[in-house]
């Protein structure tokens, strides 16, 4: 790291810039996909909103107001520029601006995701590194079966089991996560403890598996064998030789598996009645609120792409061949 030449830095900057541009192009294409699918079978949004009893003139007037009479490509262009400017449009179902609906929900989901990350990362590191350094032992095999089973477990089973254990049997925690702005910090923590735990368990399994793979990969390298032959004690090999080299791949694995937060949040927020963005999106599907649905989908996709990008960049920075 210390002996980094300026050409190496330039090289990395160039690769990173390329990835950032590529991520934005992907996001642009994703927006086209989402807009196309959600606008493909509009039935007739105006007709649907007004119901069967509306007169032809009323429907026509609303169609005009909603801009449904313009060509699809023009509508897409307008929608995209508005979103880039930070104005995702108007929800005719809820009768208020989409930005207003989202702004009350987004912080809740961010809090949930942040806390779940805080719980899951240390746990995954512990499980992953333990499994890797005890490769082939019973410990490793049991952890493998445990994480393999957790990965395939439906999120609502995990959440249900937590509710049964902590709120039905033990009566420790509430099973419904009501979050109000007036609640004190400790009240809020208590009410979102179960959603956070459930979400953390959902992501921890995948994260631990990828961490194990990353550390195990380093343990196979010749420099580990060299250190062993020199008589360096194994704990020191792991801490001083393996871990610094594994940091890049491990962070990469973390970022990749945090993308499981999105899918997990949808189920977890719904089961606990948590007022977040994911449960909002589910409601938007039920009420066929396309404007709201498109915005929620775009936020989730942007967050997902951002995490992939972070994973990518960390992998690039960690690759010593690119630093030459």
């Amino acid at each position: 790291m210390a002996a980094q030449g300026s050409s190496g830095v330039k090289n990395i900057a160039k690769i990173v810039a390329k990835r950032v541009v590529s991520a934005f192009i992907t996001l642009f294409l994703v927006s086209a996909v989402i807009f196309t699918i959600s606008g493909l079978l509009p039935g007739d949004a105006a007709q649907e909103l007004l119901g069967q009893s509306a007169t032809q003139e009323q429907v026509e007037a609303l169609r005009e107001e909603m801009g449904l009479n313009r060509p699809a490509l023009v509508r897409y262009g307008d929608w995209l520029t508005a979103i880039v400017k930070g104005d995702p449009g108007y929800s005719y179902v809820a009768n208020m601006p989409v930005s207003q609906i989202i702004s009350t929900r987004l912080p809740n989901t961010l809090l949930l995701a942040a806390l779940a990350t805080l719980v899951s990362v240390p746990l995954a590191l512990l499980i992953g590194i333990t499994a890797a350094i005890r490769r082939g032992t019973t410990v490793d095999r049991s952890l493998n079966i445990l994480t393999l089973s957790l990965v395939a477990m439906p999120e609502f089973l995990i959440a249900t089991l937590f509710v049964l254990a902590f709120s039905v049997k033990l009566l420790w925690l509430p099973s419904i996560a009501l979050v109000s702005p007036e609640a004190t910090w400790s009240e809020t923590m208590r009410s979102i403890a179960l959603p956070v735990l459930s979400l953390a368990v959902v992501v921890v399994a995948q994260m631990a598996r990828m961490t194990r793979a990353a550390v195990a990969d380093q343990l196979d390298r010749p420099y580990v064998e060299m250190a062993r032959l020199k008589g360096v004690p194994f704990p020191r090999i792991v801490l001083q030789h393996v871990m610094p080299n594994a940091v890049g791949p491990v962070i990469n694995a973390m970022a990749l598996s945090l993308s499981y937060l999105m899918g997990g949040a949808i189920i977890v927020e719904t089961i606990f009645n948590y007022p977040g963005l994911a449960s909002l999106m589910v409601n938007a599907v039920t009420s066929r609120d396309m404007a709201l649905l498109q915005s929620c989908a775009m936020i989730f996709c942007a967050a997902y792409l951002a995490m992939m990008l972070v994973a990518d960049i960390v992998a690039i920075l960690a690759n010593p061949r690119l630093r030459a």
Binding site: T26, L27, L29, V30, V33, I34, I37, S38, G39, L40, L41, N144, I145, L148, S149, V151, A152, M153, P154, E155, F156, L157, T160, V163, L164, S167, V168, K169, S175, S259, M262, G263, I266, I267, T270, I271, M281, V282, A284, V285, T286, R288, M290, L293, A297, F300, C301, Y304, L305, M308
Partner: protein, 274 residues
């Protein structure tokens, strides 16, 4: 065939054997379950709702006093059959595109790969939600929607496998012989990637079971009067506060199916490597 499977299972680690047992159990339940179910699926058979275990209702009753065992056996049929068909469809579409991309190469490959890369950048549940909002959720649509959601993932794997094979001598020779693209794809390439492809289909099956039951759990999947295992969890959610069996049994049914399939695939892949 049967003896080969038997010897394969015997040499597997215990976790793989358990997985094999669970998968076989649920396949049998999906095929024969409704035949052996003690009650009709919609029958109100008990006055007591959320009843516990009893001789006449081995797994208790649900929120309307229907037999949980019978409903789970029927639900398993929906879950297993839809997911199996969707997994096959996903692999069929994904692999067809992969073969096309690898044989044509050039800008055809560029174009298909770019499109698939875009689709894979949309988290699967988000993608499925948008599709359900746009098209609805009849049984046939659910099958297609869950399949489409996992096409890009299969495409990636299949393309990587096919690209390696296309470069090999025997494919080049067949090409020089003047064989058409259909022959190249089905006779030369496909037979040599069938094992990893089947393992991937197994994984897609697990993902699709989870996605489908997740959608049904949200009330956006299988609609009444039909009910898959996810719908059963949803409709009994009011029993959660009393820890009703009617909510735990279908949830565990899904978990044993997906965990079993995952353990089996893991064992098969490890066996294939050594």
């Amino acid at each position: 065939m049967i003896s080969r499977i038997a010897s394969g299972v015997r040499t597997m680690p215990l976790s793989g054997q358990i997985g094999f047992g669970l998968v076989v159990f649920w396949l049998l339940a999906a095929v024969f379950g409704p035949v052996v179910a003690p009650y009709s699926v919609g029958a109100f058979v008990d006055d007591e709702v959320f009843a516990g275990l009893s001789a006449s209702f081995p797994l208790g009753t649900d929120y309307l006093g229907r037999d949980v065992l019978s409903r789970v056996l029927w639900g398993a049929r929906y879950t297993v059959f839809i997911a199996l068909a969707a997994a096959m469809l996903a692999v069929f579409i994904g692999t067809s595109f992969a073969l096309l991309a690898s044989l044509r190469g050039g800008w055809t490959d560029e174009l298909i790969s770019r499109a698939m890369d875009t689709l894979i950048s949309i988290p699967s549940k988000i993608f499925a939600l948008v599709l359900v909002a746009a098209f609805g959720s009849s049984l046939g649509l659910l099958l297609v929607i869950t399949a489409i959601t996992y096409v890009p993932g299969n495409f990636r794997i299949a393309r990587a496998l096919a690209m390696n094979l296309v470069a090999l001598d025997f494919v080049q020779v067949a090409r020089a012989r003047g064989e058409g693209p259909v022959h190249l794809a089905t006779r030369e390439i496909l037979p040599n990637m069938i094992h990893p492809l089947l393992a991937d289909m197994g994984l897609r099956f697990v993902f699709i079971v989870l996605l489908l039951s997740g959608l049904s759990f949200l009330g956006l999947g299988v609609q009444p009067p039909h009910a898959d295992l996810g719908s059963l969890v949803r409709e009994n959610l009011t029993g959660l506060t009393e820890g009703a069996l009617a909510i735990i049994v279908p949830a565990i049914a899904i978990a044993t199916l997906t965990v079993g399939a995952n353990l089996l695939i893991d064992a098969l892949q490890k066996g294939g490597r050594s």
